[in-house]
Amino acid sequence: MGTIWQSLLANLALVSIFLVGWDIISDLARRTSRKVQDLLLGAVMAGGAIISMLLAMPIASGFIVDLRSAFIASAAFFGGWRAAAIATLCAIAFRLYLGGAGAWPGVTGILISAAVGLGYHYAIGGRRRKSVDILGLGAAVAAGSAIGFMLFPSHAGLEIFKQAGLPLLSFVFVSQIIIGVLLDRQWRRRELAEANLIFSAMVRELPDCLNVKDSQGRFIAANPATARFMRAGSVDALIGKTDFDFFPTDLAEKFRQDEVSTLERGETVRIDQPAVFPDERKGWIATLKAPFRDEAGRIVGIITYNRDVTEQRRAAQLKNEFISTVSHELRTPLTSIRGSLGLIAAGVTGALPPKAANLVKIAHTNSERLVHLINDILDMEKIESGKMVFQVTRTALRPVLEQAIAGSTNYMSEKQIRIALMDDAPRAEAVLDPDRLHQVLANLLSNAIKFSPDGETVILRLQRQPGRKLRISVIDRGSGIPDTFQDQIFEKFAQADASNTRSKGGTGLGLSIAKTIVEKLGGSLSFETGEGTGTAFHVDLLEAERPPRPEPAVIVRKRDNRLRVLICEDEADISAVLAMLLDAENFTSDVAPDIASAKTLLRTRDYVAMTLDIKLAGESGIELFRHIRASATNADIPVIVISAVADETRRSLNGSAIGIVDWLEKPVDPDRLHAALEKIVTRKLDRRPNILHVEDDEGVLTVMSEGLGPDVCISSARSLVQAQEAIALQRFDLVILDIGLPDGSGLDLLKDLPPETPVIVFSAVELDQNLGDRVRAIMTKTKTSELDVARLVKNLLPTFDIHIHATTPGE
């Protein structure tokens, strides 16, 4: 028994000797093809198998045990079918030559080993070998050897297995592992060397400078291009030196500064800088400096990459000059064409016959289009070359919006389109370039006008959004953007319908420019659209931090609780002045430039008052006045009439002038406006008491409204959110409050209400807690009816500072 172990140990020593031999041979043969290397591996492993058989000790007549199977399987596993064939054939031939009763089982064992090795070889295929593969191979080859024993004549086989089974299987396993691990490592070393060869070739042949420095600025590695650029003679002459050894001190100092900042920030830095090349040519290089990290991720140096960009810069400069020249050359004749046509079309030269007038109009419109196109192309070029200059400053948005509307009048007149301004973010400010925002809004407005049906109103709305965001929306009632076009709307020269280019006169660049500008301003441009219902474009911007500003002492109200006034005025200058005066009085304002948009706004939003220009763009403000008084909402809105001819109009409105607070003449006197607003706010004006009923049950709302009768003005809110919106927009003399609302408890509303507003709780919930003085009564739905509540409200009303006047609409 002992001798078998010894014999196998000797075999194992043989394995080691052959592996070292193979290492040397494969190194010598590293330049040969893969095929030759496989054949060599087969031959070496065949030699190992033969000598293993020679050294083995016969355990019975004609039977030998040895480690040949490990050699054969390794040849197949690492060398594929070629190596397997050589090793197998040589081993079989030698085993047959040795002869004896074990010859045929031995041959079978050899074939099994070869099959196991090849099986593993192809199973792994192209992927990387893992330790578990080698372990598995060891176990499989050992198992294959055991099968060899079973092929012996039965009594002899069992006897031999008893003697040699355990030592053989364990030695085959161990030697297979050893061969596997060593060959695998050798393989990896070779791959690494090849990869290195590829990388160093890449770096060596790169015409751009590439080098690595340590944190002190000393070269650790560099390519020949770096050495040439530094005039260092060779790469070896660079290693260990710094920029100070090659450049004047001030220049080296500047380079060092760039490196230090890269090291400190740990980010890649890109610098364009002038350079003098080895051939004394002056030019530009683009430099990339990236931190160089060790395996632990610590920054231990800098990787620098320099590229000669002289040509690109020269090309960019040429392009710039070319565009400048072309635009000038195009614009000069266009100045004459547009000028002549503009003057003729405007009738400066006298009236034209209708046919001629139409043709001149066509020519004029198209010359305008050409002007826009050239401007857009130049803008696009500026943006793409990064030359668009942004003069960013803290900007109040309302004036920018007003100017954008004023600037759009050219487009509007022809189609009878008006722009209404809804300002839901009073005093909003953002840090941006006002001229660029103006450009974006002008573009969006001109689009909205183009795609609106004649006579429609376009809405420009400013809102606050969660997260200190501001949203400027341009909303039209056009045909909407077709589904298929929505994802390319911001692309250059995109037009939903090619025929639109002609009928709508766009350049196809506007939205693309607008989006880029908004993004450069740190915002985003998006849209919502419904086919047939219109489109809203949203410019989202970050609101500037509001500096603490003392609120006016006269009216103490939360900013978001500001009362809203509708300015009904067609002259942009005047509406801007009114808005400014109202803002100073702490009112929010919307602007309606005509009767149609005023009606729309009055229908959809609550206003505490409105200013009305009696001579509204040729329309009669008086007509609007009568319309308001007869309408369902805002019928009792106090009106401040503003007119150039206030006294004259006053007479014509005599008799129906209910709710007219004051008559102001243009130019508006700020003191009189203040007084008029004061009157409205302090509720000296006769009006019906204003009651908010917060209730989600439609039936209760109806019965309560019946019960309260026509002497009060009831607003209803069906959810907590609606109620909060209502009290933010309007003041109420009384609130009837349900507790169980779909989106929360009505009690949450109490903290949002102005402290002086009385509340009656009318709810199914039984409450016995003290809700404070302002809650005048708590009534439970099953115990008291709506009519009881209504009676209580009527009883309470005289205690409020309200005079119920007798005039209701129609009287």
Partner: protein, 131 residues
């Protein structure tokens, strides 16, 4: 008293159109010069309230004309604005650095030119910075 405006451009067509456009404002009295050197003489003689200068002109170009206007005692006080097709940002910045009170882009809107010029003069009067 009318506001006197001298329009300088080498293109006959544009001079004519600009003259008609500017005269839409009844307050303006408009004359034009066909070259920079001509403009120096006309400005010194006529003493306009504003000189509108084309930039690209053969011979003496706009900027050179502006320099010479500013250098001469008789014309140094006359404000000058450019009317030009070259309105890239760096170009506009350069014009302003030369001392131009404003820049009007070509092609101008003939119906708005007079208004734009009026605004230029008003803003200058109110001391507001342009552009």
């Amino acid at each position: 008293m009318p506001t006197k405006i001298l329009y300088v451009d080498d293109e006959d067509d544009i001079r004519e159109i600009a003259q008609i456009s500017l005269e839409l404002e009844p307050q303006f009295e408009v004359r034009s010069s066909a070259s920079g050197s001509r403009a120096l003489v006309d400005a010194a003689e006529w003493q306009p309230d504003l000189v509108l200068l084309d930039v690209m002109m053969p011979g003496m170009d706009g900027p050179e004309t502006l320099r010479q206007l500013a250098a001469s005692a008789r014309t140094a006080a006359i404000p000058v604005a450019f009317v030009t097709a070259r309105t890239q940002t760096h170009e506009v910045v350069r014009y302003r650095a030369m001392g131009a009170i404003g820049v009007i882009a070509k092609p101008f809107d003939p119906m708005a030119l007079a208004k734009d010029v009026k605004r230029l003069l008003q803003e200058r009067g109110s001391g507001r910075q342009l552009l």
